[in-house]
């Protein structure tokens, strides 16, 4: 085999999989978003019908799309912010802790990080259970006067947290935050360890306050790490689906985000795969714009991808 052919031979299976099972479906989903794909078309009794921008027009006129878009964006914004803040704080904490304590805390973080998303959602659903949930038990411990003043109620037993989209999203934020801050914390810790301690010594000698040191020394040096963590978090939190499906169920339309809306349009009977595809395309476009900014930044700073 001529040497120039070797890399292509090695890549052949990978390229087949990526082209056939990722790129081609991506192209197809764009095509499908311009077609009418209802039950007869899915069954194959009638051919797919080209309908132009009808699907897009239909979703943009649907209030549900705008609710889903709002849910997606607000959820991602809140969760990414909370995850990064909490994760960074815990990363800094890990660096300050003694050896034993930081080991113990890391093992604890691993436990939360390792739990499968479906299990995580189930656990949080159980914590917030209306009748036997531990959260309602804890809220009942709050003195009645204080509880009344803060929330306007004293007895929390039976509080149905999973009926209302706002409280569903509150639980979803907690659930995703809980599962994802450990990764941020451990990554920030890894970044912190790469900063030479002389820099901190110098800052201390100069009488810098901890907050000032963080802003002027730590943050600028960890900027690339934060950039990556932010983009990864945005991408992960934009398409949260499994957890939402467990917490809200497939029919709670008020609680849809874009992924769940797309999925239920396409697969809840009667199937409307064209509309589902259009929603999926909108979601993908949003994510690709974010990714594009990310990749351009990387190519610009590195010149070439190693």
């Amino acid at each position: 085999m001529p040497p120039w052919l070797i890399p292509y031979a090695l890549l052949l299976p990978g390229i087949l999989v990526i082209a056939g099972l990722l790129l081609w479906p991506l192209v197809q989903v764009v095509f499908m978003s311009f077609q009418k794909l209802g039950l007869p078309q899915v069954r194959g009794t009638r051919p797919a019908e080209w309908v132009g921008f009808d699907n897009y027009q239909r979703i943009f006129e649907n209030d549900l799309f705008w609710t889903s878009l709002r849910n997606t964006v607000v959820f991602a914004a809140v969760t990414v912010t909370l995850t990064l803040v909490l994760g960074t704080a815990v990363g800094l904490l890990l660096q300050k802790l003694g050896k034993v304590m930081s080991k113990v805390l890391i093992v604890g973080l691993m436990a939360a990080w390792a739990v499968p998303p479906v299990s995580a959602a189930i656990i949080w659903r159980w914590l917030f259970d209306a009748d036997a949930g531990i959260i309602n038990w804890a809220l009942n411990l709050v003195p009645d006067g204080l509880s009344n003043a803060l929330f306007g109620r004293a007895d929390w037993t039976g509080q149905p947290w999973l009926n209302d989209p706002v409280s569903i999203y509150m639980i979803l934020i907690l659930c995703v935050l809980w599962a994802s801050f450990p990764f941020i914390a451990v990554s920030v810790l890894a970044g912190l360890k790469s900063i030479p301690s002389e820099l901190y010594e110098a800052a201390r000698v100069d009488g810098s306050t901890p907050w000032h040191t963080f802003r002027k020394v730590t943050f600028p040096l960890l900027k690339p790490v934060f950039a990556v963590l932010t983009i990864l978090s945005i991408i992960w939190d934009f398409k949260v689906l499994a957890q939402l499906l467990i917490l809200a169920g497939p029919t709670n339309r008020e609680a849809y985000n874009l992924s769940l809306f797309a999925w239920s349009e396409a697969f809840n009977p009667p199937p409307k795969m064209g509309t589902g595809a259009a929603i999926a395309v909108v979601l993908t476009l949003i994510l690709l714009v974010i990714t594009f900014i990310h990749v351009r930044q990387m190519v610009r700073t590195e010149g070439d991808i190693k």
Binding site: G14, I15, V29, P116, P182, V225, L283
Partner: protein
């Protein structure tokens, strides 16, 4: 305040915060396991029972014998293991070959390929669901675990190549050149020199793919219509369909699903962090 007192107070505050964070991370997991071993009257109560007073295996036995959605939990575990192992076996071979190509060779089309790999990691799998569903159905794989394996191989491949290439790149090229000069064939050089050195990275990448396939819900839910083909995450969802949620059984099943992941996770956590961050930072 004396400096020593201040220092001590600072240390107390620090360790106190660490304990709070530790409890926040661990308590929900503990609560799942504790619930799995509590009898029903300790589960369905408005009291707070930290430790099971009368620990019981009834829920564990129940999910193995009665199960859910008409099958024992063994069936779902078996399906999950089949899908996850199948994904790892096929995926790691494909990823290793591709990773060797991109980190050992400079060739035309390499940069576009790397950009495609990067972008494909960002495309939401859910967006591909509709077309993959129709493709899998067209290929006669609807309702077959093999179809799910194929999908998971595709979904885990971009990140697998991305992660594995840093491990291949870390092996000094001189080692292979030495073997090559000593007259070893290309295949022998790969098999006897590169492969053993990349093996730890291959294990880490495989475990990552295993976890991804093991945890996957949406494709499994969409591609497997018969309950005998459910994977663990899909089966777990079914507990909520029943009248009155059986939390003991759910938590027992959820614990069973979580154990393998936690074990694997502890094995590879270091590499996961360096793989995700370093891979992304260095590009």
């Amino acid at each position: 305040m004396k400096p020593t007192t201040r220092k001590r107070l600072g240390s107390i505050a620090l360790n106190g915060t660490a304990i709070v964070v530790f409890l926040f991370a661990v308590f929900p997991v503990y609560w799942m396991v504790a619930t799995a071993f509590k009898p029903n009257d300790e589960i369905f109560t408005t009291d707070f029972i930290l430790f099971p007073r009368q620990p019981t295996l009834e829920h564990v036995t129940q999910v193995f014998t009665d199960g859910v959605a008409g099958n024992s939990i063994w069936v779902y575990m078996g399906n999950s293991v089949f899908v996850a192992l199948g994904t790892v076996l096929i995926g790691s071979v494909v990823a290793l070959l591709a990773a060797t190509a991109v980190s050992r060779f400079r060739f035309k089309g390499r940069t576009p390929l790397m950009i495609v790999l990067l972008i494909m990691q960002m495309v939401p799998a859910e967006a591909l669901l509709i077309s993959l569903f129709l493709m899998i159905r067209g290929a006669g794989l609807y309702g077959q675990l093999l179809g799910l394996v194929v999908v998971n191989v595709a979904l885990t491949l971009p990140f697998g190549i991305w992660m594995l290439r840093t491990f291949v790149a870390a092996v000094p090229k001189e080692l292979e050149e030495a073997a090559w000069i000593d007259g070893a064939s290309r295949f022998r050089t790969f098999w006897k020199v590169l492969f053993p050195l990349v093996a730890p990275g291959l294990v880490a990448t495989s475990i990552f793919s295993f976890i991804t396939a093991w945890n996957e819900l949406i494709f499994a839910l969409t591609l497997m219509p018969e309950s005998s083909g459910y994977t663990m995450p899909v089966a777990l969802r079914f507990f909520f369909g029943q009248r009155g949620t059986d939390w003991g059984a759910i938590m027992a099943s959820s614990t069973l699903m979580t154990i393998p992941v936690v074990l694997f996770f502890l094995m590879v956590q270091r590499r996961m962090v360096s793989g995700l961050v370093a891979g992304a930072v260095k590009g």
